[in-house]
C-alpha cells in the first residue's frame, strides 16, 4: 500500500494491499477500498463507499456518498456523481444513494452519474455522458441523457 502526499483520511477506513492513493486525495468516513486499487490525484471520496479490487479511479473524480463500485472498474478523469435528488432537503436519509457501478464497467472522461442508478457489468459510459437511469450489462451508453448506442464489441471488452 502506498499513500502519497497531502492525503486526508477520516475514520473507519480500510485500504487493502497493493493499493495506491495519489496526492491530495480526500477519503471521508466508512470507506472500504479493495486490493490493487488506484485512487489517483485529487480524487474525493465521500462516506459509506465501497471500492472493489483492481479498480482505478483517475484524477479529479468525485465519488459521492453511498456509492458501490465493483471490481476492475475504470473511472476516467473528472467523473462526478451525485446521491441526492432533493439537494439535501431531507438530510442524509435512506433515499440518499449514490450509483452502483458493477464489475468491469468503464466510465469515460467527465461523465456525470446521477443518484441511485445502476450500471450493469461490463458496460461503457462514453465521455461527457449524463447517466440518469439504469444501464444494462455490456452496452455502450452515450449522450445527455445517456442512451444505449450498441452492445460492447469484443475488441473493447476488458473481461
Amino acid at each position: 500500500m502506498c499513500i502519497s502526499a497531502n492525503v486526508i483520511i477520516y475514520n473507519n477506513i480500510s485500504i487493502n494491499k497493493n493499493t495506491l492513493i495519489g496526492d491530495n486525495v480526500s477519503i471521508f468516513s466508512n470507506v472500504n477500498i479493495g486490493e490493487s486499487v488506484l485512487i489517483s490525484r485529487n480524487v474525493t471520496i465521500n462516506s459509506d463507499v465501497e471500492i472493489g479490487d483492481n479498480t482505478r479511479i483517475m484524477d479529479n473524480s468525485h465519488i459521492t456518498g453511498r456509492t458501490k463500485i465493483g471490481k476492475n472498474v475504470f473511472i476516467s478523469v473528472g467523473v462526478t456523481m451525485a446521491n441526492d435528488n432533493l439537494f439535501g432537503k431531507n438530510g442524509y436519509d435512506d433515499e440518499v444513494k449514490g450509483p452502483k457501478i458493477n464489475d468491469y464497467v468503464s466510465i469515460g472522461v467527465g461523465a456525470i452519474l446521477l443518484p441511485n442508478i445502476e450500471i450493469g457489468e461490463g458496460s461503457i459510459v462514453a465521455a461527457g455522458s449524463v447517466v440518469n437511469k439504469n444501464v444494462p450489462e455490456n452496452v455502450i451508453v452515450s449522450g445527455n441523457p445517456a442512451k444505449v448506442i450498441t452492445r460492447v464489441p469484443k475488441y473493447m471488452r476488458r473481461k
Binding site: I140, P153, K154, Y155
Partner: protein, 75 residues
C-alpha cells in the same frame, strides 16, 4: 455484399448526424474520410458482425473500407 456494407456504414453515419456516402470506395478511411469516432466504430463492428457473422476488429482495428470488404470476403 458491398451494397449492404454501404447501407450499414450509412446507418451509423446518419444516426450520428454525419454525412453519408454515395459511392463506396475501398480507399475511404473510416476515421479521416467518413469522420467516424470510437463510438461509431464500435457500433459499426457490432452491426457488421450481426449481418455477416464476422468480427472485423478481431485482429486489430481496421481503417479502410477495403479492409472491411476483404475480411468479410474471407469468412
Amino acid at each position: 455484399m458491398e451494397n449492404k456494407i454501404k447501407e450499414i456504414i450509412n446507418i451509423v453515419l446518419e444516426k450520428n448526424n454525419k454525412e453519408t456516402v454515395k459511392e463506396l470506395n475501398k480507399e475511404l478511411s473510416l476515421r479521416d474520410d467518413l469522420g467516424m469516432d470510437s463510438l461509431d466504430l464500435a457500433e459499426l463492428t457490432v452491426r457488421i458482425e450481426d449481418e455477416f457473422g464476422v468480427d472485423i476488429f478481431e485482429d486489430g482495428i481496421v481503417d479502410k473500407v477495403g479492409e472491411i470488404i476483404e475480411k468479410i470476403s474471407k469468412r
